[in-house]
Amino acid sequence: MMEPGLYHILFISAGLFFIGVYGFLTRRNLITMLMSIELILNSVNLNFIAFNKYLWPGKLDGLFFTIFIIAIAAAEAAVAIAIIINLYRTHRSIDVEDAEQLKY
């Protein structure tokens, strides 16, 4: 069994990232879009961890950044869900197509 190298992990990370972007652009449900954003963030986390482990094994900077991003993501999810709940109260829907009044 072969030890996974940096490129494998970067490949997975890139895949995760584009899945997230695709989901964000195509899904109409706001919860699903939020989940897509989490996927993008996690792909970034994976990158940080991988670079930390393979290029600067003695340092912890990448680790700190990852923890920091997880904390931010949690806060962001809380805010986003609050917005979605409010949107649901006014529009009776969490479809992003229904929330497009904010325009010219």
């Binding site: 972007v21 964000f24 652009l25 195509t26 879009m33 992003v96 197509e97 929330a99 497009e100 009044q101 904010l102 325009k103 010219y104």
Partner: protein, 644 residues
């Protein structure tokens, strides 16, 4: 020496009354407003008399010549060394005389208005405006600096505007106040340019220095100014002529007189104060103030003053014979009398016996203020009584208004030049001065003096005799004590002011001028005056058809005079037809299509671009994200391209 505080208080007191009544009058001191204004004026008038007494009999003379005393001079704005605007006080015979005249007439009008304006809604405002006017006029006469005078000159214009438009709900009053302001403002343009020309060549704005430099042939400034000429006239002549245009506008000289008759839309006491006794003589005062420059350095300008004055005097007298609105008759009579003062200056020389015209002009200014204020206040009492300005609605009032009748008669005799009333003496001096220097002006003046007597007595007979008056029962009498007292005081002035030996106090160079009196010389004008009165007596004492017959026999002249020789129409034609069409409309077109067009084009361009790109703001979150992604990828590609 005079106490500066006392002199300062004379203009400051009316100004204080203006501030007090203007700020708090309508809310807090509604009923006391008139009393406060009148008390301020009373103190100011007393101080003015005190100063005049001191100046003329105590400290004014030095070696037998009245000198200029400058008790206060404050350097206010300095443009360059030498040219500065100072605020100051000058005491010389004419300014002291004007202090007395202005405060006295203003006091009379203040007292009179207590009865006349009583019960008006804007009573305090009226007194506030009167205070402002008196302040500005007093500031004008004590100016040491030509620019200081210009400030106060504009201030009297503003207060005149405010007071003419006092009945601001009457469209004719609004039109009249605008007309007065615009016409005098237009003339003031000439004044301002004149100031600039004179100060450029004189190198100073101070009256004293200006006169010293420009009226003495030895000075360098004089030589340069005389040498530099434009269209054949020297710079001094141009400067003085331009200054005179300002004075002619304010003094309602032909052809800038059109505002004065319309100004009669204001309350009658205001007409008495501003448009008869004080403000309208500001132009005469201005010429008198700069008199040495006119007389020594710019004889052409002085000639112009003389002829403009003479033409105005005759022109206005002819119109006055046909008007039926009593205030308009008085307005034209004022214009005619100011014409007298102007040409008296115009025929005068500088110094000694030559300066008789100057003395006569100031003398006439003094006596005219008395009897013309009296005439206006009397007319005000009549209007108050019959509620009409038109002499057709009057007649036979002598039994109903005895005090007004007698005082009005005294004023009419004074203006007609009947001895021994005030107007006789001053008019004799003017005629004598004209006779000695310019015969054509003398003849014009003589004819005018006959006409004056005629139209004044036409007015008098039409108001107090002619048809019988039918009392309407609800009449409120002649007006109270406050309205009669100023009439009586002014009547005393109009009857007795002529006995002052004016030449001893006021003369062109300050040295006393012996009053010369030629009995045989005064026969012609007095006879003409009596003839005028007699004609008026025949035509108007009893109601008859003779005036109409005479009017019909000189129909075209009568109609032309009745319509004021169509000067107003001429002005309207020039402004509306020529100026508006040839200048106004093209300029408006340029403004609308080129200036505005440019701005509109910029606006349209911005809006068009916005219209094109606003579709990006669709409100769809995912679209934005897509744009963002495309941008990020584009930038990425760009960076890769650059780095490789």
């Amino acid at each position: 020496m005079p106490n500066v505080i006392y002199i300062l208080l004379i203009p400051i007191l009316p100004f204080a009354a203006f501030l007090l009544l203007g700020l708090f009058g309508r809310k807090y001191i509604k009923n006391g407003a008139g009393i406060i204004g009148t008390l301020c004026m009373l103190i100011a008038a007393a101080l003015a008399l005190y100063i005049a007494y001191g100046y003329f009999f105590d400290y004014g003379k030095l070696d037998g010549v009245y000198r200029k005393i400058i008790p206060l001079k404050y350097n206010w704005l300095e443009f360059s060394p030498g040219i500065s605007i100072d605020m100051g006080i000058v005491l010389d015979p004419i300014s002291v005389m004007m202090l007395v005249v202005v405060t006295f007439i203003s006091l009379m009008v203040h007292i009179y208005s207590l009865g006349y304006i009583k019960g008006e809604e804007r009573f305090p405002t009226y007194y506030a405006f009167l205070g402002l006017f008196t302040f500005s006029m007093l500031g004008l006469v004590i100016s040491t600096n030509i620019f200081q005078m210009y400030f106060f000159w504009e201030l009297v214009g503003v207060s005149s505007f405010l007071l003419i438009g006092y009945y601001y709900d009457k469209p004719s009053a609004v039109a009249a106040c605008k007309k007065a302001f615009i016409v005098t403002r237009f003339a003031d343009l000439g004044f301002l340019i004149g100031i600039l020309v004179l100060s450029y060549y004189g190198g100073t704005l101070d009256f004293n220095e200006l006169i010293q430099r420009l009226a003495s042939p030895e000075s360098n400034e004089f030589k340069t100014a005389i040498a530099s000429s434009f269209l054949g006239l020297s710079a001094i002549t141009w400067g003085t002529v331009l200054v005179f245009i300002g004075g002619a506008g304010k003094s309602a000289m032909f052809p800038l007189h059109i505002w004065l008759p319309d100004a009669m839309e204001g309350p009658t006491p205001v007409s008495a104060l501003i448009h008869a006794a004080t403000m309208v003589v500001a132009g005469v005062f201005l010429v008198a103030r700069l008199f040495p420059v006119f007389a020594i350095s710019a004889p052409e300008a002085l000639n112009l003053v003389g002829y403009v004055g003479a033409v105005s005097a005759l022109f206005a007298a002819v119109i006055a014979c046909t008007q039926t609105d009593i205030k308009r008759v008085l307005a034209y009579s004022t214009m005619s009398q100011i014409g007298y003062m102007m040409f008296a200056l115009g025929v005068s020389g500088y110094g000694g016996e030559e300066g008789l015209g100057y003395t006569a002009s100031m003398f006439h200014l003094f006596t005219h203020a008395m009897f013309k204020a009296l005439l206006f206040l009397g007319a005000g009492a009549v209007i108050h009584y019959v509620h009409s300005n038109d002499m057709k609605d009057m007649g036979g009032l002598r039994k109903f208004m005895p005090v007004t009748h007698i005082t009005f008669l005294i004023a009419c005799l004074a203006i007609a030049g009947v001895p021994p009333f005030a107007g006789f003496f001053s008019k004799e001096e003017i005629l004598l001065a004209a006779y000695q220097h310019n015969t054509s002006i003398y003849w014009i003046a003589l004819i005018t003096s006959g006409l004056t007597a005629f139209y004044m007595f036409r007015l008098y007979f039409n108001i107090f005799w002619n048809k019988e008056h039918h009392a309407h029962g609800e009449h409120h009498g002649e007006g109270g004590f406050v309205m009669m007292m100023p009439l009586i005081l002014l009547a005393i002035g109009a009857a007795g002011a002529g006995f002052i030996h004016f030449g001893e106090f006021v003369s062109s160079d300050g040295a006393p001028l012996a009053s010369v009196f030629h009995l045989q010389f005064s026969i012609a004008p007095v006879a003409l005056g009596f003839a005028g009165i007699l004609v008026a007596w025949i035509l108007y004492k009893k109601q008859n058809d003779k005036p109409d017959k005479i009017a019909a026999s000189v129909k075209s002249l009568y109609i032309a005079a009745y319509h004021k020789f169509y000067i107003d129409e001429l002005y309207l034609f020039i402004t509306k037809k020529i100026l508006f069409n040839l200048i106004g409309r093209p300029v408006a077109w340029i403004d609308r299509h080129i200036v505005d067009g440019l701005m509109n084009a910029i606006g349209d361009l911005t809006r068009g671009i916005a219209e094109l790109i606003k579709g990006f703001q669709s409100g769809k979150v995912q679209q934005y994200a897509l744009y963002f992604l495309c941008g990020a990828v584009g930038l990425l590609l760009l960076f890769i391209y650059i780095w490789h």
